[in-house]
């Protein structure tokens, strides 16, 4: 290790104060600190020893939790491709290969434009160290994109999200909105043709799909029942044998790259809960809120979508992914423990409301989380105000 350290020390010289490349000091520091934890020690007064945790490890834990869903997403892209074009893959490796070819470029484009161009530029201009936040955002953005998304759109969305959602507010820790969701919302409103509808969720390459292929997601089908008046479960079953409840849970269905498999997402959720990196309160309350709201709509039962069994809401669309990986973003979520329950419940409730009561937007989780991101400080405000009130009451007694 000493050998590598020596190389780094030598390379460091021009980046130091007074050196030729001083401007790029923080860029170099990023690489340096990825290789080595710095030799900085604790201060004169105060704690003399520090906990072994740091933000890099914290963020890396989230990435590790994302891996099962990401790998499954790659596989699923290939699976849907072969199914739609009516070819038989020679081996499961072929499925993987299609998925990797599709997904890896999206990830690379996200990192190149989000991290290497935008973040690095801000680091040099604003003279602050690179924040680890984008390590996670850079994986999250591809996972909420449809597999057919044009790469140039990914690039624009990444640049927009990093600039407007994060750096404009001062960087990781200061942002109000979830960066990855801003990227998706940007595309949703700027280029709706490539991120909504029935034609974008299955990658077809240059092939024409087989007869009878629809490409509609379960969410879209559920929304269609408002017009057809059919029972949702029956219409899902009629569409495809893949749309059984169990399969919706396992996730071999069309959808955004990372969001289809509830099983894989729950593995990630388990990692986040055990490590304490993601708030279990938020996850549980999002699912609970959605389930509860669906029950309420069941009771109303004015149309087939309202009558859909509540558990279906939990396995279709992006609800699980949003609940586990997006809503739990500590910076944009509520920061008080009581607030987390309210914040999560509201996300769940709003998601189902948007889905069922406003068919113009088939998926509600994205807007529900962004909406609650904006209201999280207000939720906290009231929770903290209660604490202040307790203190004030004590003083006057």
């Amino acid at each position: 290790m000493k050998f590598i350290r020596n190389i780094v020390e030598k390379a460091k010289v021009p980046f130091e104060k007074g050196g030729k490349l001083e401007k790029y000091h923080h860029l170099f520091e990023t690489i340096d600190t990825l290789l080595f934890v710095p030799n900085q020690t604790t201060g004169q007064k105060g704690v003399q020893v520090r906990d072994a945790v740091d933000l890099k490890r914290f963020m890396m834990t989230v990435i590790i939790a994302l891996v099962p869903a990401l790998l499954f997403g790659m596989y699923n892209v290939g699976y849907q491709y072969y199914k739609a074009v009516g070819l038989t893959p020679a081996s499961s490796w072929d499925l993987w290969w299609v998925g990797i070819q599709r997904v890896v470029p999206i990830i690379i484009v996200t990192y190149v434009f989000g991290l290497f161009i935008t973040e690095f530029a801000f680091t040099v201009i604003r003279k602050h160290p690179i924040n680890e936040g984008f390590l996670v955002s850079g994986i999250l953005i591809p996972m909420v994109m449809p597999p057919t998304i044009p790469l140039w759109q990914v690039a624009i969305a990444s640049v927009f999200a990093v600039t407007m959602a994060k750096e404009a507010f001062g960087g990781t820790g200061m942002n109000v909105l979830n960066v990855a969701l801003v990227a998706r919302a940007f595309l949703y409103f700027a280029y709706p043709g490539q991120i909504s509808g029935d034609q974008v969720w299955v990658y077809l390459g240059n092939h024409t799909p087989v007869d009878g292929f629809s490409g509609a997601t379960p969410l879209a089908l559920a929304a269609q029942t408002l017009e057809t008046g059919q029972n949702v479960v029956a219409s899902l079953a009629a569409q495809s044998a893949d749309y059984s409840f169990a399969n919706l849970f396992y996730g071999l269905i069309p959808g955004a790259i990372g969001e289809t498999s509830v099983l894989m997402i729950l593995i990630g959720a388990l990692i986040l809960m055990v490590t304490g990196v993601g708030s279990w309160k938020i996850m549980v309350s999002v699912f609970g809120g959605a389930y509860g709201m669906a029950l309420v709509l069941n009771a109303v039962g004015a149309n087939p979508y309202m009558a859909m069994p509540p558990e279906y809401h939990l396995v279709i669309g992006g609800l699980a992914f949003g609940a586990v990986f997006m809503a739990t973003d500590p910076v944009t979520a509520s920061q008080t423990e009581t607030g987390k329950w309210i914040y999560g419940l509201m996300i769940g409730i709003l998601t189902v409301m948007i889905r069922v009561l406003n068919p113009a937007y088939p998926e509600g989780i994205m807007l529900a989380i962004l909406f609650m991101n904006v209201f999280a400080p207000l939720v906290d405000y009231f929770v903290v105000a209660a604490n202040k009130k307790r203190r004030l009451k004590r003083a006057t007694v």
């Binding site: 900085q40 003399q48 020893v49 906990d51 945790v53 933000l55 920061q335 008080t336 604490n387």
Partner: protein
């Protein structure tokens, strides 16, 4: 009659190098120092002596020009050999070369029954002159108390839960009489109760059990349950406008001795602790002692940090440094100025962590495992990201992150409303330890307290 208060929140840092229950009288420091920096809130320190002056134990050497009555006195007799100053001539240390045999300034001496007859003003005057007043700390702010206040209660923590903390059964053994006299003196200053808070999980130290005229409260929990601030919060919290006083048992004893024996007795037993000490044990010495004598030939290696106090709230004083006025602990840690290859992701069970993020495996170790921690920062400073962790180590009805952000924003109303009056640095020390974003939490707390106190 005493209630038991159980606290669930907190975190015990179990370090290697606990002091063996053995008190040595063999090592004596050459020099002793009075340091204005020990007394937080001292605004305009002024040395009353010059280099070459001869002093006795109890001779005033320092005052705060804002409170000239309160004298800060020499712990030992001898010659002033150095007056160290820092930037802008800030007074740092008044160093005394100790005599072989100790000479004391003499103060009025009382029997226990006479003591009861003294008025508050007579007591106050002797405490000012005799150098024991700085033992009394005022809440809010955690500064030396103002004698014009009448505190609503006085609180004494009867145990210390910080890492490697000295055992009070060892350091206060046989001081029952002086302790009781001290309580008797303090009683005159408050109309409220004197609370002694003891560890409910252990047998009660006889010195506290036999004290008269006090309210004994039992506490059970993890660190920071031994912090007097946490205890106050659960017994009789400090509201805006309230004043409470806190005194360490050592201070009570010193006050008692001033009246019973008529002298300023700075003798104390300190715990020499830490993983790098060959024979961690207790030493008999005086306040402000130079640490060199205790460490020479007693270290496992040379690249170490010398900490006056414990690892959470202590101060790096260096090899030639002197112990603080309030501390009864001295900790030696390995310096951590080394690089760790891929240290931010490598799995480890050796490094202690409150968290369980990927690869931090210390949570699977038994709670008896003793850790060797060095002074490395273990990462770089960042903006606040993680939420919900600080709350788990502050056993009070306070939102630490919100309070810290209010301080950083210099929002006075928020600081007050969120409970800054109830805490001092040590109560948030664990937040600083566990912080993912490596903030200097304790420095921020002091910044807020200064803002509230002086502007």
């Amino acid at each position: 009659m005493s209630k038991i208060i159980k606290l669930r929140k907190g975190f015990d840092i179990n370090l290697a190098g606990k002091a063996e229950h053995k008190v040595s009288d063999s090592q004596h420091a050459n020099t002793y120092a009075v340091k204005p920096t020990d007394f937080i809130g001292m605004q305009r320190p002024k040395a009353l002596v010059a280099v070459g002056d001869i002093v006795k134990a109890g001779t005033p050497v320092l005052i705060d020009k804002k409170h000239e009555d309160v004298k800060y006195v020499a712990p030992v007799s001898g010659e002033i050999v150095d007056i160290k100053r820092g930037e802008k001539r800030k007074l740092l240390e008044i160093v005394i070369l100790a005599d072989k045999t100790m000479e004391f300034e003499s103060f009025a001496k009382y029997s226990v029954s006479d003591l009861a007859k003294l008025s508050k003003d007579e007591l106050k005057e002797q405490m000012f002159k005799g150098g024991v007043w700085p033992n009394i700390i005022m809440r809010p702010y955690g500064v030396v108390a103002d004698a014009n206040d009448s505190p609503k209660a006085i609180f004494i923590s009867g145990f210390d839960t910080s890492p490697l903390a000295p055992d009070y059964n060892v350091i206060y053994k046989g001081e029952e009489q002086a302790f009781q006299a001290g309580i008797q003196v303090l009683k005159k200053f408050t109309e409220g109760a004197i609370h002694i808070n003891v560890n409910g999980a252990d047998e009660v130290n006889p010195i506290f059990l036999n004290a008269e005229g006090v309210q004994v409260n039992k506490f059970i929990g993890k660190h920071p349950v031994g912090n007097v601030g946490v205890q106050i919060h659960h017994i009789d919290p400090i509201n805006k406008g309230d004043v409470a006083w806190t005194v360490q048992p050592a201070g009570v004893i010193q006050i008692g001795k001033l009246f019973l024996e008529g002298k300023f007795d700075a003798s104390k037993i300190i715990a020499l602790t830490g993983s790098e000490v060959a024979n961690p044990q207790y030493f008999k010495t005086y306040g402000g002692a130079a640490v060199k004598a205790f460490t020479q030939g007693n270290l496992k290696q040379e690249h170490v940090r010398y900490v006056s106090g414990n690892v959470l709230t202590g101060e790096n004083i260096g090899q030639e440094g002197h112990l603080g006025f309030y501390t009864n602990q001295f900790t030696i840690l390995p310096e951590g100025d080394h690089f760790q290859f891929m240290g931010w992701i490598a799995p480890t069970a050796k490094k202690l962590s409150f968290h369980r993020a990927f690869g931090l495996l210390s949570f699977i170790n038994s709670s008896n495992k003793e850790y060797v921690l060095d002074t490395n920062m273990q990462g770089e400073p960042r903006a606040f990201v993680q939420t919900g962790a600080f709350e788990k180590v502050v056993p009070m009805d306070i939102y630490p992150t919100h309070l810290l952000k209010a301080i950083l924003a210099e929002d006075f109303d928020e600081m007050e409303a969120l409970g800054l009056y109830e805490i001092i640095e040590e109560d948030f020390a664990l937040c600083e330890f566990i912080d993912v974003s490596k903030h200097n939490v304790q420095a921020i707390v002091r910044e807020g307290l200064d803002l509230l106190q002086y502007s």
